[in-house]
Symmetry: C3
């Protein structure tokens, strides 16, 4: 059933090319845009104070990623989120490196208090860093299991009435009342920079076409993992993995989804 | 005849490595620089108020791309264009997302009124958005045919005494008195982010070595299309297309140009 | 002996994943991060005034690259370098385009006077531009041989008590008292944008695990060259070279180092 729903969303994305507005970090802009195009969505990147509201106006989802912060960008993120709330555009927030510096942790809390978000998508150490009690993180990468972030994810989900999607060897998607594990993926994926950011962007594309935020988050992670698995079968390392990942996304078939999806809805 | 002229320009670019100064968007900086290097040119990226004039001073072409605008960058673009005009360095302007937001459309008009440009290179919806009467656009991608922008392109060409190069399934190059269609290319190319921006950058490299702006614009689009076709024959999707595109540019031979070029000079 | 030492460093990097904090240019952020991940290090990119000191606090090396300068970034670079000095974190400085504009040359001198650097890594024309007597440069690429920069490198090494690593067909590493040539590499490498910047970042990873700065600089260049050679054997052009380079870094074995390394310690 999940497989059918994932496939329906992919078909809708390919047919309608929803505009996904990204305010994201410099490291991943190119690869994020390429992943959205490969999936069938229409990415835009815009951060200027003078245009973010207009851009939200033509978007079906807004993805906010704090990977390379600075003050003017934070102001634009808030402005865009407020506009998205007014226009009922779903917001996906990627708290890259939360916990690594005080600025990042504080900024995420400020953004969460600026306007509602539909989905928070981070790795385990980032999500744990957002607990009110706090936690440490090492750089922007995480090797912790997503389960270690379950309590923090549930807390965030309740506090902000949102879905929290925790990526890891197993991905964990948590809402106020539900949770699901997505088992797809490949161990080489964390060796490509920004695949977490790509997960957030694809989640945005699913949120653009699927009003159920929990399903959108699960579908985003399942498609990431499946495309990663297909790519890893052809890749000789993280360099070629990155390219085959885009090819896999572009070529995904209903059979790929049906035979590969591994979702644990315990 | 066109094939011979295109090849002559390629040989000149490879021999002289003209410096092409780009003030472009964050999404495509890497791929644009790689495309210029693969063609044989010498890319520089510089946007600081304190150095753009110096950089224009060592450049043979200036490429301005508004893909990720902000106020300081707009100021630097104007400063660089004024310096280019003073030094007789040809300017290529890529109005990415014109029409998508008021900021972008207004900025393009401001830039066009700051200093003369040699070539404007955009997709059909961007060029149509620059008509004085205005028009809408959806995001930064365009699926419209280039012919739909003919009137707008001609209007721009007359108003600003420049060449307008409209990319699409067929590319259209228009001056005040001439027009040509370039039929090369492959339908998968729009699924790679920033290939339009790459077209503008390569057009800059041709403008650096060819004083005839119309020919430079035609040669830029022909080489884009031919390299894209060769790449598509080897690619399994947009990920690998992007890499093979660079390899193809790097390896272009006179025979590739001669046997593949499809230019309609009706 | 050098081969064994290089391999020991690689093993340490893979085992400890040192955090390498980069304040670098927009063009290469993605490829730099990917190269560090492929080698086994943990890259972070952060430039905000409000977080660079915190980020240095969790880093084992700081890499400063001036490829796309602006005033706020220069201020953050100084702040980060001062924090690195206080915490004894080694700093690698990449003077991209020094000599191309007055801003770049002046900024490098300002940075060098802000806090001590462990290693300066540039191409021959950049290093020559940093001589007190000055010199010209063409754009940000260099075709000059590294030997042409020997005197300038020695002068910089003495003046700033640092190691100077000059990349070129042969790489040259110079300290106040020693020098070594690294002969590894492939002529296609300069046709990929930012491989010089990648060399600086990898040098940072070696400086993070090896307290001998001279050895760290030599090891960084040797690994760059060896990974480039392996990649070039599989590549059809600069596009695929870039990807195979990452795969090669990721898969480097002790035998690759032992049988390929060519270091001339005259």
């Amino acid at each position: 059933m999940t497989a059918q729903n994932v496939w329906n969303d992919i078909v809708t994305i390919r047919r309608t090319s929803p505009v996904v507005h990204n305010i994201t970090n410099y490291v991943v802009m190119n690869t994020t845009a390429n992943a959205l195009l490969a999936l069938g969505a229409s990415p835009v990147m815009a951060h200027a104070d003078g245009e973010v509201e207009d851009m939200v106006g033509i978007a079906s989802a807004l993805v906010i990623n704090i990977g390379t912060l600075s003050d003017p960008w934070i102001a634009s993120m808030k402005k865009a989120m407020t506009a998205a709330h007014r226009r009922n555009v779903p917001v996906v927030l990627d708290p890259v490196g939360a916990g690594a510096t005080a600025l990042r942790t504080r900024t995420v809390h400020e953004l969460l208090n600026t306007a509602p978000v539909a989905i928070i998508r981070g790795n385990a150490s980032e999500i744990r860093a957002l607990r009110i009690t706090g936690a440490g993180t090492k750089g922007v990468d995480s090797t912790d299991s997503s389960d270690s972030a379950f309590d923090a994810a549930r807390q965030l989900a309740i506090l902000h009435h949102c879905v929290v999607s925790v990526s890891g060897e197993k991905d964990l998607v948590v809402s106020e009342t539900r949770f699901t594990r997505v088992l797809n993926g490949h161990p080489m994926m964390p060796r490509v920079t920004g695949l977490g950011c790509t997960a957030a962007a694809l989640t945005g594309a699913f949120a653009a076409v699927n009003p159920d935020r929990f399903d959108a988050a699960v579908h985003g992670m399942a498609v990431m993992g499946i495309a990663g698995e297909i790519a890893a079968e052809k890749a000789a390392g993280p360099g070629t993995l990155q390219l085959h990942f885009l090819d896999s996304l572009y070529g995904l078939t209903e059979a790929d989804i049906r035979y590969r999806i591994r979702v644990d809805e315990t």
